[in-house]
Symmetry: C3
Subunit: 291 residues, 3 copies
């Protein structure tokens, strides 16, 4: 039982996120905020608004899970230490003279280290969310998955929503329609840890945390080095979608009839869109098949 492997993973699963990993998370989040065009100007014109946005970037996942569980969304403001930590990082990044931080952050190794540590915090958030949701709903495994997902990747939802309220919404940055890589991998991890929590997965949690974190960090760093926004999930997704929705071909072939039948619902342009998408998805699959 207490093999060196178990000791290693146990020690790993007991590491505290507080000082260093949280700092890395805040650093990456606020840098991502500053990369947005116009963010620096907002920080001058109205520092309070910029600070608020930075807090949303840093604590968005927790806020979303609080909203979904009807807990006070302001709870994240209650642990003053993290707020002050994130605020000071926001202050340094935005108002450091000749923004040395951005210059230092522009070196690749720093980015790799920070991104890797941020991915570690993701695992902790997912596990915390799953456990927290289980304390509410004993066997509501769907809720556990949702809360783990929200804690791990909900920041983007909150941020998009805030941009929507601010009026600076970019509909192509929509998180619902095309899931980003973090959303996908967090959903996967949330499912895994939920099944582990409900004893459907006969793996000890610390081993699972270690392996999942290693997977997260490895994929993230490889993606950053090779600069591919795409994901190693494509084949799995393709097989899964073919397994679940495998009759898309004949479906879409029948679809044209029913589309045209029910085309009184929308303008021609809007109804022509789905057909086009359908046909090109079909085309893609055909090309995949012919390979």
């Amino acid at each position: 039982m207490d093999s060196p492997w178990d000791e290693l993973t146990l020690a790993f699963s007991r590491t505290s996120m507080f000082p260093f990993f949280d700092i890395a998370h805040y650093l990456v989040s606020v840098m991502a905020l500053k990369r947005q065009p116009g963010a620096a100007a907002v920080a001058w014109k109205n520092p309070l608004s910029s600070w608020f946005t930075a807090m949303l970037h840093c604590f968005g996942g927790g806020i979303l899970s609080c909203v979904l569980l009807a807990e006070p969304p302001l709870r994240f403001l209650a642990n003053t230490t993290n707020i002050l930590l994130a605020s000071s990082i926001w202050y340094i990044i935005f108002f450091c003279p000749c923004d040395l931080v951005s210059q230092g952050y522009s070196f690749l190794p720093v980015q790799l280290l920070a991104a890797g540590m941020k991915e570690v915090t993701r695992t902790w958030k997912i596990v915390g969310g799953v456990t927290h949701a289980n304390s509410y709903y004993k066997n509501g495994w769907i809720v556990m998955i949702a809360i783990g997902w929200a804690r791990g990747a909900g920041g983007t939802v909150i941020t998009n929503f805030e941009q929507l309220v601010k009026g600076g919404w970019k509909p192509e940055a929509d998180e619902w329609l095309k899931m980003s890589y973090p959303a996908k991998v967090t959903l996967l991890g949330s499912v895994i840890f939920t099944f582990q929590h409900t004893k459907h997965l006969a793996v000890s949690r610390h081993n699972l945390m270690f392996l999942y974190t290693m997977f997260l960090v490895a994929t993230k760093i490889t993606m950053m080095i090779t600069e591919t926004a795409n994901v190693p999930f494509a084949p799995f997704e393709d097989t899964l979608s073919r397994m679940l929705f495998g009759w898309q071909q004949q479906f879409s072939s029948c679809e044209k009839k029913s589309e045209t039948k029910s085309s009184f619902n929308g303008t021609g342009s809007s109804t022509s869109k789905p057909i086009a998408v359908a046909s090109d998805t079909v085309k893609k699959k055909h090309t995949k098949k012919t390979e």
Copy 2:
């Protein structure tokens, strides 16, 4: 007391919604979702987003009432049975080969049956909402009306809101400004059941449930057969509005002065709008009077 009529209504008010009426409700909701242009394409491109939208269409009213009462909006995910039921209906409707379901649903009798059963669930939702709100606020009859209304017709609000977040918002589908027929009839029912609950209406609940449900089903089916989106409420609304806001004529006649006086607030175009609307409402009333 135990007349056959009472026995009938009691038995009716004790019918469980669970298997069949819920199925009808999910069927109608998801079919309404699929009728939207582009919904089928979204279901292919990102099934998760489509599933989420379908769940919002099926459980929107409950989610809204949870939000208004600060209960976890994810509670609807906790009763796994209904989720799996709705999910399977969503799956069948969207991914059935040569979508047989849509073809079968396109027959009018099926639509009538499903719509009628969905209207039955509306009554149960209103009564549940009123009772639930009463457990929070003993004599907050406004809250009871609001919660009953939200449970019965809040799905459209949630759906519009989700479309807003998704960027696919159609402002002419706005639910606030022009209330749809379900919103109106649900508000009426919520008021009725609230007054019955606060003993201001000397009718036994099961009789009221039976009569209101019959009224709902009858109006819905007649509207579907005669294909009139308009409502048998027009005369009542007209008398009510004339009773409450009867001095619109002289009001609007004075309005022009004050409008022009306070026209420094907005651009000429925006201030000219209300006057135009006012005058044509006045015109309508005049024509009504002359008839």
Copy 3:
């Protein structure tokens, strides 16, 4: 201890808001709503929607603080007296023949009296919010500031949000980016009362309430008489921003390099915006200096 001054401030801090000051608050809020172009037309077409908007204008701050603390947003509907009071004021203002109320309200003394009394309620709301938040989080002083701020000035946030949902959103009326005067002064008061509550400010609460209210009323009335939307805060803000973000000059001078370096993020237009804003802020500061 019981000097006449203390007796005066104690008696002042014990005045009840209920009948008169609340009426003034509702009057000012609903009149502000009616001043919006198109509001009167909405009140005719759909009185319910107009009533809902009026309630949001009257109780927005409380609703926002309820949302932030995960309390039922419908709680404001539970105290029926205030609802009926605000509803009757809404009814009188919108449907009074030859809208006498607007005509009477157009006299300056009436406006001054109502606005002054509304400012008094602001102090009470801030104190109530701070005390209420302290009952949740013992030493979460950030939460106390936020809740006090939300109760005092959150109505605009709720109103903007409602306009956003309604589709009638004006992005130049954005409350996040450029804080209005009420938002600023309420934030100041919330900070003051929070520090007084956490014993960091050695002033008795009733004195503080009296002085802050006098400050509120005086500034508000002077602003209304001199019709200046700008604030007596400009010099303090300038010194504060120069103290905190004083290196904006050299920051912005370096900024151009890093901007151009990281200009692959956005289109040229969007990245040129911040530089322009930065430079003109720098220009403004230079002119200020040269004076």
